[in-house]
Amino acid sequence: MRIVQTIILLVGGAGMCAAQPPRNAMADPVVVEAQAPPSAPGDAKPSPKTPPSAKKPAKTKPPATGEAADKSNDAEEAPKPPKSTLPPPSTLYTEMGYGDWGLGGNESKFRQYATVPHGFFLRDLRYVPMFKTPSEYAFLNVKGVGQDDYRAETRLAWNYGATQAAGFVSRFNFFEPLPNPVNPNARQGEGFNVKQSLTRDFALSFRFRDDLQHNNYEIPYFNLNQSTQYLDGVASGKLGRGFASLNYSNLHYSDHTGTLLDFTAQTTGLSYLWSPSDAIDIEAAYAHVAISQPALQQSHVDVVSLNGDVALSSATDLNIRLQQRNLGLPNVQNAYVRAQGLGTASLFHRWKSWRAEAGFRLQDDERVNSDHTYVDVPKWSTVEGRLSGKLIEGWRLTLRGNTQTLFNPPPAATLDSDSLYWNSRSFFQAKLEGGPPAVSYYLVYTYQDKRNSARSTEVQTSQYTVGSVWQISPAVSLFGEYHHENWSGHTAFDSFPTLSDFLPDSTTGIVELTWNQRRLFLSASYTGFSESNHNPLLLPSANAVGNFVTLSGHYRFPRGYELGLTVAPWYYHDSVVGALDYNAAVVMVTGSARF
């Protein structure tokens, strides 16, 4: 609440400071001219070879009006600018409306992620004050007042942007999509951040966020009442021939029901990127995390990393990265990793419109028992590559992929001691995009494969995405996309239910047609998805179909007023558990005005 008051005070203060200049002050070229570089003939001139940036800061000059401005020391006399034809900017924008859900069926599923406004609502209130001087900027934005979901945010910048502040307050309800309704979950957050530039290249910033979450679960889970406070401070910017950063953060979590343990994680980090020449950059970074939990020993994690970039030629770059992470987790009884080493080397090469990248990554984990006896060192090696460029005029191709192999896989601590880890992972993606100027096509294919040889397990995924944007005329455009995922897998055990019975195939699609004239904007879109699972346990939300049509139209009046109508017939059907079905016919009428 204190934060809300602070924000209101800040905005109120800014608004009080804001003078009321003529409506067209911002658009008036004279104001623009006032920011022009000082150019009076009497000014002391630097040496012709001295860049102006090397000079002392230019002194504040009065607006260059009249003769003073006309006597610019430029070779050509400054022409008189034509009168503005842009309308004066608006300081206040408001949009309100009325909404009805027309809902039948499962409300929890309909409101799963967010709640559509209903009844009369203030959809948007935006205030952008105009300031007498151009050194300030501010806005306040409030959305969804009086609704289950709302959000307010403000940003301020003054002292020519050297000081910036922002804050927000928000609340959202969300629901577990269950056949039997449970109470809503709520997430409420508020926070602010402040940034102060000490020099043009170095700034201090501070950020705070308070997050409350009330979670209501179905049995067998316990309800949670959680709060998280996060704050951080960062000093970063240019320092010498490099970039320095020093940061501190504190994350505190508590569950007021006592179900989960509270913890506090404090992180201190520093890094420096040194650029001794245009061709070389070296960055060193260190971070220390201290984790406290009540009645338990303190845990810590230390991370040291070194990063080097070398331009081998104008077209070739080499990047080397090394990282060491040491974990001190004295309370953890069953995860043995105490140190992790990571090394990567990547080579980049550019050739005409093509870019190629080849990389190698090696990670090893040193595992130590709780009694400090050595266990083993599994190693992961990864080879990765990327190639992108112009195939023919207007078409661009991107290929990328990687393959990872696990050496010395750790044995499992379960009854079956075969390793539980994937010993091989592969990823490949091809993307083709382009087309004639009026039509843009894209095709993305992704393939992933994971294998655990010790358990004869393999899982494969293929994803296809095909889409196109067609600018039929300057006013009309059509967008369509089809996305399909195919999963397959097997293990050594092939009696029912097998792994493949639990792997889903799914399809999503969208078609959107828009018509955008000077006064009228019309849009019709259809989004749909369908899932295909064997679902051997006949669970809810595993075989569902969703069809969502959204029709909207906006008419703009010459004075800047706008009327809008949105009609959204949405349909969701679960073919196994019908209690999750819903039909909604959302109707929303909105009107907006600006002053």
Binding site: R200, Q333, L539
Partner: protein, 354 residues
């Protein structure tokens, strides 16, 4: 063991420093390098090199030809930063971004030399755009930072996402000018803005002069990721409750702020209840020896409950194959009330109960 660790660290440091120091020595100390004259700065930095005060014109000159641009810039939040009289001349007003006006005017009628003498963001290469913006935004990142990013390698620069001049559909319309051709359409449709935004209006405002909402912007290239948000279960990006930068560090030096997570990466920002460390960790999913949360969950969206990779116990039997047929086969491992502390437990090594 401690000694081994220290030795490993020293070895790592040595392995890192030795090749870099060697290259440094070759590049910096070799006679050839010493004898070479310093290279002239690349475009567009060359526009600002060796300039004098008289190269920077009164902005009335800009307004004469580029009236709309000057006016729309004056309305942009960016303008407040550029009007600081304490800035040096080459970091004030139009010419801070586009280069000194005198040189542009002298070459403005040349077909060949026009864009070699002014920084045009529609004609410049991505690395030129980044170089121009990072002249001032060096507290955000350096050119070296940028050049290392995946975005740089894919040719995505600052103006791919950020809009410096003010763009307001309604304001333009009120001016009585014809409907703007491409830019309005691009913002509204070409980048397939998520249509649900008409129904869920509580999305946060685009930050830092972004052209439009983040999902739309990022989805312009990351099509498949955007498609995944259309699944039955997804992070609430289409509903406007989340944005891409909640999880992804777009600017590399902001990573420091996301390194607070000891494990489980970004997820614990919101899902702090599964952060741990727990007395009994579910090792591969605790980000110690596996992929962390992504071993079981999909980050953007999935057709399975809780954004899982597989339905119900199918998720578990991918690793625990010996439990596939004979271990309570008709039940879900966690919802049945057995392994309900599957993210980690402080009480039970088999994650029974919470």
């Amino acid at each position: 063991m401690r000694r081994t660790r220290v030795l490993r660290l020293i070895m790592l440091l040595f392995c890192a420093i030795a090749p870099i120091a060697g290259l440094l020595a070759v590049c910096l100390v070799s006679p050839a390098a010493l004898s070479k004259p310093p290279k002239p700065p690349p475009f567009p930095l060359s526009l600002f090199a060796h300039t004098a005060e008289e190269d920077f014109l009164n902005e009335r000159n800009c307004t004469a030809c580029h009236r709309a641009s000057v006016e729309t810039f004056a309305r942009s939040p960016h303008a407040a930063f550029m009007r600081d009289p304490h800035n040096p001349l080459d970091k004030q007003g139009c010419q801070a971004c586009h280069g000194p006006g005198k040189r542009h005017i002298a070459h403005r009628k040349e077909e060949e030399g026009l864009y070699a003498n002014v920084m045009s963001y529609t004609h410049a290469k991505p690395e030129e755009v980044a170089a121009a913006c990072l002249r001032c935004h060096s507290d955000t990142m350096t050119a070296a930072h940028w050049s290392r990013t995946a975005h740089a390698h894919a040719g995505v620069s600052c103006t791919s996402c950020h809009q410096i001049h003010w763009l307001d559909r309604l304001e333009k319309d009120r001016s009585g000018t014809p409907a703007p051709p491409s830019e309005e359409l691009q913002v509204r449709t070409d980048v397939n803005e998520l249509p649900k935004s008409d129904v869920f209006p509580n999305a946060p405002e685009p930050k830092a002069l972004l052209k439009t909402n983040e999902a739309t912007l990022c989805g312009k290239c990351h099509r498949q990721q955007l498609a995944e948000f259309r699944h039955n279960f997804h992070h609430p990006v289409p509903e406007g409750r989340m944005v891409c930068s909640d999880c992804h560090s777009i600017h590399p030096n902001k990573d420091g702020r996301k390194q607070v997570r000891t494990n489980k990466q970004n997820c614990i920002t919101c899902h702090a209840d599964v952060a741990g460390p727990f007395v009994y960790e579910h090792d591969p999913v605790s980000d110690l020896t596996g992929d962390g949360c992504l071993e079981c969950h999909r980050a953007h969206g999935s057709s399975n409950v809780a954004m899982l990779n597989s339905v119900s116990r199918g998720l578990c039997i991918r690793c625990h194959t010996d439990k596939s047929v004979n271990h309570h086969p008709g039940r879900t491992c966690w919802d049945s009330g057995c392994h309900s502390a599957v993210h980690g437990s402080n009480h039970d090594s088999l994650f029974l109960g919470r």
